[in-house]
Symmetry: C2
Subunit: 451 residues, 2 copies
């Protein structure tokens, strides 16, 4: 077994790990990054397709208040373009397809008011939540004893509004409203400003796309210290003693004074710690399952729907195609339609044969955009639940009784080990921006201790 010594070991080369490394590099510290995969980027994965189109199979968008990502974008002079957002959106509900413009579909006035009120109430509730200590809200226990689905049951009256709200939830969380606690949902909305921001393109979390993709960005940032990143070394064992830590993969032993663990909660739980994790922390990591998100890209010779006056955005009640976006480059000829399959749908859909999946999606798209839609140049999809070094995505979720009982453990260090990762972020938790801030925070903690 190969042995290396360093001052600081970073586990995981996703956005959080690379952010921590960037900060340590700037502080002239001695560090090493240990990454399980044969690539960096974590839950970002950018692919250059044969058709010439670059697609993000993982995290994709950047929103206007995600300042830390924008700093990286500027620093690397990465070009961005805005998600296509002109023309009519389409809504399918039961057997009717209707078109509308803006975020909120054109539905009957009662359902519309109901939906608007529900989002308004969510925003009002989430606005009261502290992102650093959501468990300190006076009603935290009450909000954390129920699922978001229970809240919806109580506060949304029309079937249509409930359905549209639910699709919004699935798209934001890659999960069902029934598997997350109301308190966690409120924290998450507040963490990304509010529910409106999270579901919107313009001024929202889906506004901008990076040329070269989100993995491209993190590669540029990591470029100055790629020699310090050890790929294909999945950490299995982490022991601590007075002077530091010893971390082991199957082939590599690293001795360090401090350690920053940036992998998702569910993966922390797979490591052998010696001494074991404090029991409250261990119990927390048993209780943050990953969501399930699947991205399907359809590549066409042209974004023909634009000429038909459509935005490419669909909201539908029919499995598996519930939400789509036009994510083609503003300056490219090819049409790129992105279909999301989320939560329970994603886990069921990926278990079908690829041919069946393609057929099902194309049948649905054809209903909206006609025969041309059934003839893409390429179909490509990916479900993150199959990635053993992520176990799902976008993020680690919290069901009821988790945030109030274990939330205080999320950023708590354990002896020489500090914890980062987007799940630990106060701002933009679950997003790239949260991953970066968490890496910076953990690096700061370590730097303070190294003095």
């Amino acid at each position: 077994m190969k042995e290396i010594s360093t001052d600081i070991l970073i586990v995981g080369a996703g956005y959080a790990g690379i952010a921590a490394a960037k900060k340590l590099q700037a502080a002239h510290q001695d560090f090493i990054v240990m990454e399980a995969r044969d690539r960096i980027g974590g839950r970002t994965l950018t692919e250059d397709l044969e058709s010439g189109v670059t697609v993000d199979m993982g995290a994709k968008w950047v929103g206007p208040t995600q300042h830390l990502v924008w700093e990286w974008i500027k620093e690397t002079q990465t070009e961005t373009y805005e998600t296509y957002d002109q023309g009519k959106n389409l809504l399918k509900f039961k057997d009717k397809i209707s078109s509308y413009t803006g975020t909120i579909p054109k539905i009957d006035p009662i359902s519309l008011i109901d939906l608007g009120w529900a989002i308004h109430k969510m925003n009002k509730l989430s606005d009261q939540i502290s992102t650093s200590e959501p468990w300190n809200h006076p009603k935290a226990r009450e909000y954390d004893a129920m699922t978001l689905a229970t809240w919806m049951e109580k506060h949304i009256w029309t079937a249509k509004a409930k359905h549209l709200f639910e699709i919004g939830i699935q798209t934001v969380f890659a999960a069902e409203a029934s598997e997350i606690s109301l308190l966690f949902a409120l924290f998450y909305f507040k963490s990304g400003d509010n529910m409106d921001t999270l579901i919107s393109i313009k001024n929202g979390a889906q506004q901008s796309i990076l040329k070269g993709g989100t993995q491209g960005l993190v590669k540029k940032i990591a470029n100055p210290f790629m020699d310090k990143i050890h790929l294909q070394e999945p950490l299995a064992y982490l022991s601590q003693h007075e002077g530091g830590i010893i971390a082991e993969s199957a082939n590599l032993r690293i001795k360090a004074k401090k350690c920053i663990v940036t992998i998702p909660p569910v993966l922390i739980n797979t490591l052998v710690f010696d001494p074991p994790l404090p029991q409250q922390k261990a119990q927390l990591y048993q209780r943050m399952p990953m969501g399930a998100a699947m991205k399907v890209y359809l590549i066409y010779p042209t974004p023909f729907w634009r000429e038909m006056g459509f935005s490419g955005q669909i909201v539908s009640d029919e499995y598996p195609l519930k939400v789509t976006f036009d994510v083609g480059h503003a300056d490219s000829d090819q049409g790129v339609l992105l279909v999301f399959v989320e939560g329970n749908d994603a886990r069921n859909f990926i278990d079908l044969e690829e041919g069946t999946r393609k057929k099902m999606v194309l049948e649905r798209v054809e209903k909206f955009f006609g025969h041309q839609a059934s003839l893409p140049i390429q179909y490509i999809d990916k479900c993150w639940t199959e990635e053993v070094y992520s176990r799902g995505c976008y993020t680690g979720l919290m069901g009821p009784n988790t945030l109030t009982q274990f939330g205080h453990q999320i950023r708590a260090p354990f002896q020489h080990v500090h914890f980062a990762g987007t799940e630990t972020a106060e701002k933009w938790s679950g997003y790239l921006d949260g991953a970066i801030s968490s890496g910076y925070r953990a690096a700061s903690e370590v730097l303070k201790e190294m003095l």
Copy 2:
């Protein structure tokens, strides 16, 4: 690394693993058991205290309909005795202590009716649930979208009844009503007959105690094949190929045709599978956190409370002492009081210094039984969340949206690997009896495939 070949590998030497081994032994099969700990018994642990008393620090009781455990008891000629259940029980609520007899405390008639109705409704609902396919109930999705706490909020009106019901829930699940789904609770009650059975001593799950303890029983059963059990070999890696499996701990490599994994869901998630677990199974194992239960034993020269006319049973609203039992031998001089600390309480309590814990418990017991109660011969406690090879207890729990979406995966084999463990049982899931039946079932599956 040492290498062994066998036909069938059993992972885990708890009740499920030993039951599987017993069945394979009877069928003259070639098998090996791989156990992480330096002992067998899993979530059972029997200790002979200096004071001469034998205590179960883990699973303790046997109820009348747990036929498989009774078979083992008869086969090994193990003596049993009944939990002391005479005299007055004590109830503390707010600042009042009152006494009563039977399972249901003497409280004001309104609260009493409320509590009785709630238990009656639970029993009626759970009676409709199929333990083999709880997700097929017409209202399964509705019941699985809410927490048990939400149901209580709706159906129990008085504070006292709600409080007593909640203590019952904590005692049955080692968890809060807010962290389990209503559907899972209904399944669990039905799996153990009904809620009444689970909370009762007489004719209930707390009726009988084994001389020599529950770990003593499994040791006797395992005695004929102890040479086939490899202790201190925590499985880390499990690969599969056409002809079978290869399992590895740090020091041992076992090749086998078939494998039975009996460890808790949360621990299955810590193994490296090659090929990886099917994504739906992997997602399930991210969603079955362990409860938190703590047992505190107080040993006294005599069960002096009996002479005072008390049963030793307390139900109290004051942390940490909420539920106690007199578990002294019928034929022994010494008094043995068992205090349960459950759910959130357990995780908080175990983080205090032992001296503080002892002081807090004794202060509370003294309030009920007077000065003598503050002078035990011995104080001993254990919290199972600290056990890395269990990660909590009694059992793997399911929050909302788990049973309906992933329940069908719980007994699904994965190529050559079959799954047992009390969490996979239809009858007495979470109990010793469920562990035994699950081991028998998995062994039957393997035997069928070996033909």
